[in-house]
């Protein structure tokens, strides 16, 4: 019988939540790396027992942990993230030049085909790759040096490369997103990059339609249609049908178009999920009601999914990497909150129940579907 393994990164450690395909009884393992921030943890699509975790604190810096047994045991591996050459400057919050400084790894994206190859999105924004199981890392400098890097400015969370999407139909194509620079695409295996922000409109920058400077919160893709991208921007939910060459707003009837997380149904490429958040200052759901919104039309027409979710006095946030979707026939949706709850729906969002209620604030959620 199939099973699922949910990988949860929190502000004070990592947790592994396991269940069979019914997804109604859960085994909770953790905290792993207690006391450390786990920004992200993800398994290799090529070897589900190979996991990678980003572990950091302000005191002791960045570590990378690797597991070869599905998270039962871990070993620290390479954590030297050195920019290629003299990295120069980007813009600081006040508009002055600021030297590029490595701070942490926000996102780890294992290769679709090789368990030993993994990409890391870091703050200050850059893309790194390891081809030896995270033992050593090299920057792929074409992104940072493509031409607009000196104008990138951090969002409130820092100048972070938080989204990495590998195109399953084209190993040379990859998408990344940076707050607050925007989305970028390579078509030649990360040698060269171009901004893909045409159609984004952001009032908080001097030119709302600028080539870069947009605060992209997250981007999602369905593997069967890699040319279609969905984006939750700081404000606005967006859609591209041409691999990011242009974007259209699909916020439609959402109660607010602010939010962080966005994801796509495993079997229905036009079915997408967001968690609307009231505003960029309050960072909690409208009216104290935690609602996942689903569109079965690829945007514009949205329905609230509430059954089993708190509909009063709820003031948590759902961060950009804290939603995930399994690939079982009855597609499971998972998300974690800053209040420490991890919710699961085994039926594509119709019904929800908490797996755990009292973890530290959740930074990231990933799920593996196991045979």
């Amino acid at each position: 019988m199939s099973s699922v393994r949910v990988l949860v990164g929190t502000r004070k450690g990592a947790f592994v939540l396991s269940a069979d395909g019914k997804r109604d009884r859960w085994d909770v393992s953790g905290p792993h790396f207690a006391g450390w921030e786990i920004y992200h943890m993800k398994g290799s699509p090529a070897d589900p027992y190979r996991l990678y975790a980003s572990q950091s604190t302000g005191w002791f810096g960045q570590l990378i942990q690797r597991s070869n047994d599905g998270g039962q045991s871990w070993e620290p591996v390479g954590n030297k993230f050195a920019y290629d050459g003299a990295p120069g400057t980007h813009q600081w919050y006040d508009g002055t030049p600021h030297p590029w400084e490595f701070k942490r790894v926000w996102h780890l994206e294992p290769s679709l085909t090789d368990p030993d190859t993994v990409y890391a999105g870091v703050e200050d924004a850059a893309l790194f790759r390891s081809t030896d199981g995270a033992t050593t890392w090299e920057e792929l400098p074409g992104l940072r040096e493509h031409g607009t890097g000196s104008s990138w400015q951090p969002g409130a969370g820092g100048l972070c490369l938080h989204t990495i999407i590998l195109d399953p139909s084209n190993p040379e194509r990859m998408f990344i997103a940076i707050s607050a620079a925007g989305a970028f695409r390579t078509d030649d295996g990360a040698k060269t990059w171009k901004p893909i922000n045409h159609g984004l409109h952001s009032q908080h920058i001097p030119d709302p339609d600028a080539e870069v400077g947009h605060c992209v919160h997250h981007v999602a893709m369905h593997g069967a249609r890699p040319e279609v991208l969905y984006m939750q921007k700081h404000w606005d939910v967006m859609r591209s049908d041409n691999a990011g060459d242009s974007w259209q707003e699909v916020s439609g009837n959402l109660p607010t178009d602010f939010g962080f997380a966005i994801d796509v149904h495993a079997h229905e490429p036009e079915t997408i999920y967001v968690v609307p958040i009231k505003s960029d200052s309050e960072h909690f759901p409208p009216d104290g009601k935690l609602r996942v919104y689903r569109s079965r039309a690829g945007g514009n027409e949205w329905e609230a999914l509430t059954k089993g979710l708190p509909q009063r006095d709820c003031y948590v946030n759902v961060l950009r990497d804290a939603m995930a979707i399994d690939t079982l026939d009855s597609c499971g949706i998972y998300f974690g909150t800053t209040g420490g709850q991890v919710y699961a729906s085994p039926d594509a969002g119709e019904n929800w129940a908490p797996i755990v209620r009292d973890l530290p604030g959740v930074l990231s959620v990933e799920v593996q579907t196991l045979p």
Binding site: G58, W59, P76, N79, K80, F102
Partner: protein
Amino acid sequence: MILVVLPAHLRTLAQVNGDVQLEIQGRATQRAVLDALESRYPMLRGTIRDQVTLERRPFLRFFACEEDLSFASPDAPLPDPVASGKEPFFIIGAIAGG
């Protein structure tokens, strides 16, 4: 022999119980102690000093003999009681968070 006291998180990471005893070849300095520490426990690389610049991480301090040695040159000799193993070399994580 030099005695090094690690913060709790780094003891867990290095899988050591209690203090660490290091043999140093040549003059005992901060750099020599940290080089020896990282050589024996490679998982500590980057957690005490930056791997590229080799600068002490900002929320860590080095104490010994009731003195703050954090801003001393990494190549300055450590106090004799530290070099002889009579007094430990403390690596301290800042008390922060309110």
